[in-house]
């Protein structure tokens, strides 16, 4: 009753639910003109099975007490496959009871044999905590003595020993397994000897660098299991992605049984691709995706539909949260039904938002991809994506946040002008039919492989006839490391020969570790309200920046860089700040070079970035109100890059302007297209252009790995340059705009025809004969 009243308080509110919202959209020609695709999947009914006879009788009894009288067919299928000794990957939507697929076999094993052990791996600590809580409840209902522990960086040293000895179910993350458990496996003898099940939830999170590292951590885990005589079954869970079995098989190098025939009931699902209307055809400018997202989210909120809005950046999250909160603010100023959610909020605050979502007291949450992973927020009715998330897996994962056992749900993808977004809008079949995920993890990436070979040798000497994972040339790698002095070959074994602990040097993911804390000094008692990683701080927490937190505005009064503290004070301003990052790139060394047909090189570079100025932007109109200066040290990163130049003899006939605009256009497109061909996330590779490069003395475009040390993306780009340039030309030619737009060669700053300029440059390279 209360909720009805609250809804009625929204101006123009019409609490008629999702069906009405869908109908109203269909009836709105202006909306429908922007719809590039509307796909509906009909509702399905529940299909259940019996509990298997072989299962310990206490388990069905306990579940029945909790209201589960019959498992879904996919749960039964997973249990039966495990019973047959197969590895299983379960791929069913949110809220389909995935966790029972692995919790029950693990518990069954412990109830039968008190020595048996299970290892649960979650990509983040928060997810692990969620699952431990759920498992505790089930164990309590069982009344059995099954010890479940979280083992991560927060586990006190005093409890670690007990967990190593006695934990039946050990819940941890890949980083902890890699850096702590595997290198100290002799302390975990009980676990390794009795390991029955390894659960890897959120399988789709293991892609790119993280996935390639994960695959190698698993290889090391399997080596140790073999040493201790155990042969665990792997149970993987993933959100709906196109080919999860291949991903599992790539990461784990085992045959997998796929369980994807969801027995849980599902409501009708709608997917809408929404391309904002073109407002300036000449310039190819479309309406802002952020504003369109806001309008769609507003409509959903006014119809009383619960929704999650995914924004691309923290700033977008805050701007959207701020405007949506205005809609629901009650006379007392409370607007808790709209919440922002992103990394940087304190864990307690995040838990509070998650609880609100589950309970329904929060109706709309605006999030970065922090909520992409399966943090338990219940199931929502709608999902709005502000911009294509960059990969198909991410898109499905974010869309999966909407979807219920009964009733309809909808996902709206709002496109930006980015070439990738526009590509998806014009090629929806690419999105629905292809699945790059399996290729995203490269366990045999040379750099990663070298690292993990060292770790593995440290953990257990290699035998001369051993095969590491599915790697063909294990011996070659071992001999190379021996020649390099890392290993010693003696008596049919390769031994680690260094006092270094190799895993200490290897990080599985590339996020910055040194976080800054944000301290609110508005009240007499200063309070920590959030944290931020070191690389983002110069952009968002420079002095005088307006820092948005949960839609509230704070001004940064002092940034204590050495001590990693930012002091902020709550303000009421009608603007936000947007910092300009000045990036510089310097070549350290050229490893390889090839002058034909396109002069290209591959080597090592230093990328320095520094924030020097910021703009003040009006909150509602985004107009520029002025700017200020920032005085902060620069951030440096060594990485690998490939670069192409246009030498003097090839640019005859190109005016200076045309050359500049053409190079900028090509650079823009290479940056946009490379992730598609390198199969990496959009932020993993960056592009940089020098009109006259100090190293090559020529106009030069750089593509570099945006990850310290590099992970081989630019090496691969070096070999793919011809393809990339050809694709760039095709995209420009296919683009319907007149003279360049953000979706192709980009808007030209000085010359009218950016398209022509880019095509001329491409022709000059002879890359496009």
């Amino acid at each position: 009753m209360y909720r009805m009243q609250a809804t009625a308080n929204i101006p123009g509110a019409n609490a008629s639910g999702i069906e009405a919202w869908l109908a109203s959209r269909k009836a709105d020609p202006a909306f429908m003109r922007c719809v590039a695709l509307w796909r509906a999947t009909p509702a399905t009914a529940a299909r259940t099975a019996r509990f298997p006879d072989w299962m310990h009788p206490d388990i069905p009894a306990a579940l029945k007490r909790r209201g589960v009288s019959a498992p879904y067919t996919h749960q039964r299928a997973a249990w039966d496959a495990l019973k047959r000794g197969e590895h299983v990957v379960v791929v069913t939507p949110t809220a389909s009871g995935k966790t029972l697929c692995y919790n029950l076999p693990a518990l069954d094993a412990v109830l039968r044999d008190n020595d048996s052990r299970a290892l649960y791996l979650f990509p983040t600590k928060a997810l692990g905590a969620d699952q431990v809580a759920a498992l505790y409840e089930l164990i309590q209902e069982l009344g059995a003595d099954v010890k479940t522990f979280t083992y991560d960086g927060d586990t006190p040293a005093s409890s670690r020993r007990a967990i190593r000895e006695a934990g039946h179910v050990v819940v941890t993350n890949p980083d902890m397994l890699h850096a702590n458990i595997l290198p100290n496996h002799v302390k975990w003898v009980k676990l390794f000897e009795n390991l029955r099940y390894v659960v890897i939830d959120e399988l789709h999170a293991y892609r790119g660098v993280f996935g390639s590292n994960m695959a190698n951590v698993i290889r090391r885990l399997k080596r140790l299991c073999a040493f201790y005589g155990s042969n665990p079954r792997f149970i993987c869970c993933s959100a709906t992605i196109a080919n999860p079995r291949e991903l599992a098989q790539t990461l784990l190098e085992e045959p997998f049984t796929l369980v994807d025939d969801n027995g849980a009931p599902q409501g009708e699902r709608h997917v809408i691709f929404y391309n904002p209307p073109v407002v300036n055809r000449q310039l190819g400018i479309r309406k802002s995706a952020v504003n369109e997202t806001r309008e769609i989210a507003k409509g959903l909120l006014q119809s009383g539909v619960s929704s999650i809005v995914f924004a691309k950046s923290r700033l977008q999250v805050e701007v959207l949260t701020h405007t949506l909160k205005q809609l629901v603010r009650d006379p007392l100023g409370n607007s808790g039904r709209v919440r922002g959610y992103r990394g940087g909020y304190l864990p307690s605050e995040r838990r509070d938002i998650e609880r609100g979502l589950r309970a329904g007291s929060v109706k709309t949450v605006v999030s970065t991809n922090a909520l992409e992973l399966g943090v338990d927020i219940g199931s929502l009715e709608s999902c709005v994506l502000c911009g294509y998330p960059g990969t198909i897996a991410s898109t499905w994962q974010q869309a999966g946040r909407a979807g219920r056992r009964s009733g309809s749900s909808v996902t709206v993808l709002v496109a930006t002008s980015h070439p990738l977004d526009q590509y998806i809008m014009t090629h929806p079949e690419y999105f629905f039919e292809s699945s790059p995920e399996h290729a995203l993890a490269q366990p045999d990436n040379f750099h990663i492989l070298v690292n993990h070979f060292k770790c593995a040798a440290y953990e257990l000497p290699f035998k001369t006839d051993e095969r590491y994972g599915d790697l063909d040339d294990t011996a070659g790698m071992l001999d190379a490391l021996t020649g390099n002095g890392f290993l010693r070959r003696v008596a049919e074994r390769y031994h680690w020969m260094s006092e270094e602990l190799p895993s200490a040097e290897v990080h599985l993911r590339t996020a910055g570790e040194e976080n800054f804390v944000i301290i609110d000094t508005t009240k007499p008692d200063p309070r920590v309200i959030g944290e931020m990683d070191r690389f983002t701080v110069p952009m968002l927490l420079h002095e005088h920046a307006i820092y948005l937190h949960e839609g509230r505005q704070f001004q940064v009064e002092k940034l204590d860089f050495p001590n990693k503290k930012a002091f902020v004070r709550q303000v009421d301003a009608d603007y936000y700040t947007d910092a300009d990052m000045n990036v510089q790139l310097r070549v350290m060394d050229e490893f390889e070079r090839d002058d034909s047909p396109v002069p290209r090189s591959f080597g090592e570079v230093v990328v320095s970035s520094m924030v020097t100025t910021f703009k003040k932007m009006k909150l509602d109109t985004h107009e520029n109100l002025g700017y200020g200066f920032v005085d902060l040290p620069e951030t440096q990163m060594q990485t690998t890059a490939c670069w192409i130049t246009l030498p003097e003899e090839r640019r005859a006939g190109l005016s200076k302007d045309r050359l500049q605009n053409g190079m900028l256009g090509v650079a823009h497109l290479l940056g946009a297209l490379a992730p598609l061909y390198l199969m990496c996330a959009r932020n993993d590779i960056a592009v940089h252009y020098h009109a006259r490069d100090p190293f090559t003395q020529q106009p030069t475009i750089y593509l570099y790995d945006a990850i310290p040390g590099g992970i081989g993306l630019s090496d691969k780009a070096y070999t793919l340059l011809d393809t990339l340039l050809k694709q760039a030309r095709d995209v420009i030619k296919a683009c319907p705009c007149e003279s360049g737009c953000p979706s192709c060669a980009g808007p030209a700053p000085t010359e009218q025809d950016a398209k022509r300029a880019a095509l001329d440059v491409l022709a000059a390279w002879n890359a496009a004969p």
Partner: protein, 369 residues
């Protein structure tokens, strides 16, 4: 980081560097050195009672002839990829103290080395180490597991002299490294000693070159470590025997605290009394009064506090303590108030808030009447 990586890349493409042929025999290198037991005066006088106090443990039988002094030299910090390439074990044999070094000259000799250690441990009840609870013992246990020799590793009783020494000498010496203890207590000054941090590099250098003489320093270093263990155990036992007669009042106080924790209350209080002079007087009296208070001997505790006030020691502390006694034991609110005011006059900035709270509470109690 990346340069390093690229360096590796280039090296990876080169052929193997020449290296010394590994020794072919599977036996590890063993060397015994011994000295007359008379060089370890007092070692055989160490009793079960000494060990009980040193380890703060329960009383267990102890026979010095069934104690193994153990120290290892390793290839790095603890972890599954670190081996104890050199194990030094000291023990009494007849009238001599033997130091046996068991050295793995190359990886295949490790099982033999571990078996030899296990043979020694089979005849022992105790091991004596320096930081062995955290380092040597877990490392060795891990090596037995890695070599498939798990049943041969026995969990013996363990005296970790690092912990025992810290309890006694940390207040005076501040750092309790083995070398510091040697020079301060045993009169041992090592000459040309190989720093422990250089040990792994030496071993790897030897592996690469085959020059056995590179390990001379390591073996000398390890031998001295083992001998020091025996001397340190003796020194600790002697310190407890003569707790009240130690030349340093800091040592007396620390021994008193350790004895107190081990349950020897009377001896502990004697130590506190002895240490109640000079610079340690304040700390010693506080310890003594605490001991009385914990034992419920309020009158004696009060005596100590009053003595502190007479001597002008401890600032606000004795007043606060007496105020607590007055308020909670004697139920004399007025007296407690007077004492609290005295305490506030002498309080440091840290103590002040607590005392103000106390005064406010006492004020309320006074007003209620």
């Amino acid at each position: 980081m990346i340069r390093n990586l690229r360096g590796k890349l280039q090296l990876l493409t080169q052929s193997s560097q020449p290296r010394a042929e590994p020794p072919t025999e599977e036996s590890c290198y063993v060397r015994d050195e011994s000295e007359p037991l008379s060089a370890y005066k007092g070692l055989t006088d160490v009793t079960a009672e000494h060990v009980r106090v040193m380890t703060l443990g329960e009383s267990q039988p102890f026979d010095i002839r069934r104690a193994l002094f153990l120290d290892t030299e390793t290839t790095g910090f603890s972890g599954s990829g670190t081996i104890a390439f050199l194990i030094g074990a000291g023990f009494i044999e007849g009238d001599r103290f033997v130091t046996r070094l068991m050295l793995t000259r190359d990886y295949p000799q490790e099982p033999n080395q571990l078996n030899l250690l296990a043979d020694l441990m089979d005849d022992m009840d105790w091991i004596v180490t320096f930081n062995g609870k955290s380092f040597d013992a877990p490392l060795l246990r891990g090596r037995f597991i890695m070599q498939g020799l798990r049943p041969r590793w026995r969990e013996l009783n363990h005296i970790d002299l690092l912990h025992a020494s810290r309890r006694v000498w940390k207040p005076r010496l501040e750092r309790c490294t083995l070398q510091r203890l040697e020079s301060a207590l045993l009169g041992i000054e090592r000459e040309d000693d190989l720093p422990g941090a250089d040990v792994p590099a030496r071993f790897f250098e030897y592996l690469k070159t085959g020059r056995f003489s590179l390990l001379d320093d390591v073996m000398r270093h390890n031998t001295q470590d083992v001998r020091t263990l025996a001397l340190l155990l003796t020194a600790l036992a002697r310190a407890y025997d003569q707790a009240e007669e130690q030349p340093s009042a800091l040592d007396v106080l620390a021994l008193g605290r350790s004895l107190h924790r081990a349950g020897d209350i009377e001896r502990a209080r004697r130590c506190f009394s002895v240490a109640s002079v000079g610079a340690t007087a304040g700390m010693a009296r506080v310890a003594l009064a605490d001991s009385y208070k914990r034992g419920g001997a309020w009158e004696q505790a009060r005596g100590v506090y009053e003595r502190m006030i007479d001597c002008g020691e401890g600032g606000a502390f004795p007043y606060t303590a007496l105020a607590m006694l007055a308020e909670h034991r004697e139920r004399d609110i007025d007296k407690a108030m007077v004492l609290t005011r005295e305490a506030i006059r002498r309080a440091s900035a840290d103590e002040l808030p607590g005392l103000e709270k106390r005064r406010a509470r006492l004020q309320r109690k006074q007003d209620k009447r």
